[in-house]
Structure formats: structure tokens, C-alpha cells
């Protein structure tokens, strides 16, 4: 399929790397994932999922998975503005309060939610 998952969530990596090209960045922060996606958008990759997926706040969950197109085309201004606003939002939340040092159990809950947010659409995507 013509897409790449960019994620720092091992559950997403484990679940999908055989089916979808997956760029797994285990040691990236939430914000670093967003910034990497921004660089990809600059190069003309299309954003396929919203970077602020989920209502879990950016200073709560450390995990983020975003799907972009494999193909590069002319950069989309709409995508750029979404990723820029998302980065600004994420920074705002971190400015209020940094992500706590969660227990492994809670981290795993966050992984499951992050996984759930992308798996619902991934199977029926044809573009």
C-alpha cells in the first residue's frame, strides 16, 4: 500500500510492519514524531491522518502514530497548516505541564489507545 506509518509506538510497529511500511522511532518523543512528519510534508508527502488524533492531550501520552503517503508530490498547504498548528498545540500543552513519568501499565494503555486510533481506518484506505 502507498503509505508509511511513522510511529514511536511499538504496538503499532509490531502490528503493522509486515503489512505497511513502518518507520519505527522508538526513542522519539511525541513532539519529535510531529517534527519529523513536518519535514516529510515539506518534501511533498501527504498527511493521511490528523496529527492530533485522539483527545488524549499531547502532554499526557508520549505516543504518536501518523500515516503519510509514500509518494511525494507538490507540498500541500492544507497539510502543512495542520501539522504546524498541531506542533504549536503540542508545545502549548508541554508548556503547561510536561508529560509525567508514567508506569509501564499506563504506558501500555496509551499504546493501545494510539494503536486504536489508527487501526480503525487503515484497512479501508485505498488512496
Amino acid at each position: 500500500m502507498d503509505k508509511i506509518i511513522i510511529t514511536n509506538n511499538k504496538l503499532v510497529h509490531q502490528g503493522y510492519y509486515e503489512k505497511v511500511e513502518t518507520l519505527f522511532l522508538g526513542d522519539f518523543t511525541y513532539l519529535q514524531v510531529l517534527e519529523l512528519v513536518r519535514d516529510k510534508i515539506h518534501k511533498g508527502h501527504k498527511l493521511l491522518t490528523h496529527p492530533l488524533s485522539g483527545s488524549v492531550k499531547p502532554n499526557e501520552t508520549p505516543f504518536k502514530s501518523i500515516i503519510i503517503s509514500k509518494k511525494q508530490n507538490v507540498m500541500s498547504f492544507a497539510d502543512l497548516s495542520i501539522i504546524e498548528e498541531s506542533i504549536a498545540s503540542a508545545k502549548r500543552f508541554m508548556g503547561n505541564q510536561v508529560t509525567p513519568a508514567w508506569s509501564e501499565k499506563i504506558l501500555n494503555d496509551f499504546r493501545i489507545i494510539d494503536l486504536s486510533l489508527i487501526e480503525n481506518g487503515i484497512c479501508n484506505m485505498y488512496f
Partner: protein
């Protein structure tokens, strides 16, 4: 003033009046896929376009497309 930028909608919202669209955000006036020489030719074309825009009367926000 002439504004050379890739994301012209932003330039329009911040109020620039002479706008030249450029190549890409990380390299507005270049293209790493080209050789150094080709890149400079490309850059010169864009700068000449910008100078031309400076010499052109505008009566509102204008994006100088090709």
C-alpha cells in the same frame, strides 16, 4: 519589498504585496536534486523574477506565477 516564499497562502495572510513562489520550504531557492550549477541557474531565474516584480506596479496583493 518582494517576498520569496514557498507557502504563498501564508504570505497572503500576513499581507505581502509582491510574492514570488519558490521551490520548497527547506530550500526555497535551490534544489538538492540538481547539480550545483543547475541549482544556481534555477536560483538566478527566481531572483530575476523577484527583481522584475519589484519593477512592476501592483494595486494589491499579487502572486507572480509563471
Amino acid at each position: 519589498m518582494v517576498h520569496m516564499c514557498t507557502v504563498t497562502p501564508i504570505s497572503l495572510t500576513v499581507g505581502a504585496n509582491r510574492i514570488i513562489p519558490t521551490i520548497a520550504i527547506p530550500y526555497p531557492l535551490g534544489d538538492p536534486k540538481l547539480t550545483k550549477e543547475e541549482e544556481k541557474v534555477l536560483r538566478r531565474k527566481l531572483v530575476e523574477k523577484a527583481l522584475k516584480a519589484l519593477e512592476t506596479e501592483v494595486d494589491g496583493q499579487t502572486v507572480f506565477e509563471d
